[in-house]
């Protein structure tokens, strides 16, 4: 089947998509957008988190055909040109990135939290990131990064 939908503001197309393919597969393998990571393929790890029509979802659990005509925003769409989004800068500054595989999903999940809640409590941060697994950092630096991003976003 042939698909077209918007990714980070650009109209994208894919041909010969198999009916059982996930949105994640189409993004990575057919559209050259490898930012969203493929790890568990069952919604457990959150590394493939993207926005679908403004809602944070695991792109491995969206059938590609379900994205037809819709709006997708991936981790590649968080920065503005060369300017990192405050959430991305905070992850760098706080040392919240080690191997980096979980980072794209965590960035989108943290971004989603902070646009809904500018001053999250620690339990709220933990709840918002509960669907994103990191096996390197022990999460403490990630929590630091989200707090730092929240502070900076409130200050600006």
């Amino acid at each position: 089947m042939r698909l077209s939908f918007t990714v980070n503001g650009h109209e994208m197309k894919a041909d010969e998509v198999w009916a059982g393919e996930s949105l994640l597969y189409v993004l990575r393998e057919r559209m050259g957008m490898p930012g969203s990571k493929n790890a568990c393929e069952q919604g457990e790890c959150g590394s493939c988190t993207v926005y679908l029509d403004g809602v944070a979802v695991c792109s491995c659990l969206v059938a590609a055909g379900q994205a037809q005509g819709r709006d997708v925003r991936t981790v590649e769409g968080l920065a503005t040109g060369d300017d990192l989004h405050p959430v991305q800068q905070a992850f760098l500054d706080a040392g919240a990135v080690q191997c980096g595989f979980c980072t794209p999903g965590l960035l989108v999940a943290a971004h989603d939290l902070l646009r809904r809640n500018g001053e999250p409590t620690d339990p709220e941060i933990r709840e918002a990131l509960a669907g994103n697994l990191c096996r390197c950092t022990g999460y403490e630096k990630i929590l630091d990064a989200v707090r730092l991003a929240a502070d900076r976003m409130r200050a600006s």
Partner: protein
Amino acid sequence: MEFLQPTTWRQALEAKSANPKAVPIQGGTDVMVELNFDRHRPPALLDLSQIEELGRWEQTDGTVRIGAAVSYTRTITELGDRLPGLAMAARTVGSPQIRNRGTVAGNLGAASPAGDSHPALLATDAVVEVESVRGVRQVPVASFYAGVKRSVLEPDELIRATLVPVATGPQQYCKIGTRNAMVIAVAAFGLALHPDRRRVGTGIGSAAPTPRRARDAEAYVGEALDAGGYWDTREPIPDTVATRFGDLVAAASSPIDDVRGSARYRQHALSVMARRALLWAWNEFREG
């Protein structure tokens, strides 16, 4: 594999009738896992996500009719005030990303004994609205489950909505798992006080081949509260009654030993959850 994408409910029913082996997909949180791991290769996917009306809910008199595409997140934010037990269950589902996509109707369609919605639906006497080109059926949720991951849905039927009575009293939901998020229940329990009918509703999850009510426990506590005049006096429930209630809930289950827990642990957990849920709900009723 075909990808069927109706834009109206009528088209969806016709597509299901013409392709009874097509697997309906909405949030995809169960269906896509099966496909990604090549566990299941159906001849067609029937995508319901383009049908706008499925994403609506409406309240008529004392019942909320929840369209099949209403997500858990929306169940929590939009219906938590009138359906507290179902909202509590929804909060225990997966993670934010999963709750943004998964639906109560999808939970019913999958009919897993561990589905998080079921105990809350059982405790509140919910009804499943199913439809085919042949017509509409309203199936009480207690009669909906037919076995492990099986329901009474006919091959040409689709779930249109879930009908849940607006709470008339406090409701509770408890779930045991190894962590707080992304976890399949080891055992779960839903409870609803129905002061209008002087009844207590129950639902057991993850502790039998299907979700089920604890009917003897409901009858026992109903009689005990009635006989003691508790619905009128709102006096504290004696511990002996709450403990007996918990034991009867555990006795209503028929769990297995598996990787998530032993049968014995599940029954113990159920007796504790049921006792606590009853006391929590009753205390709220007393204060209300």
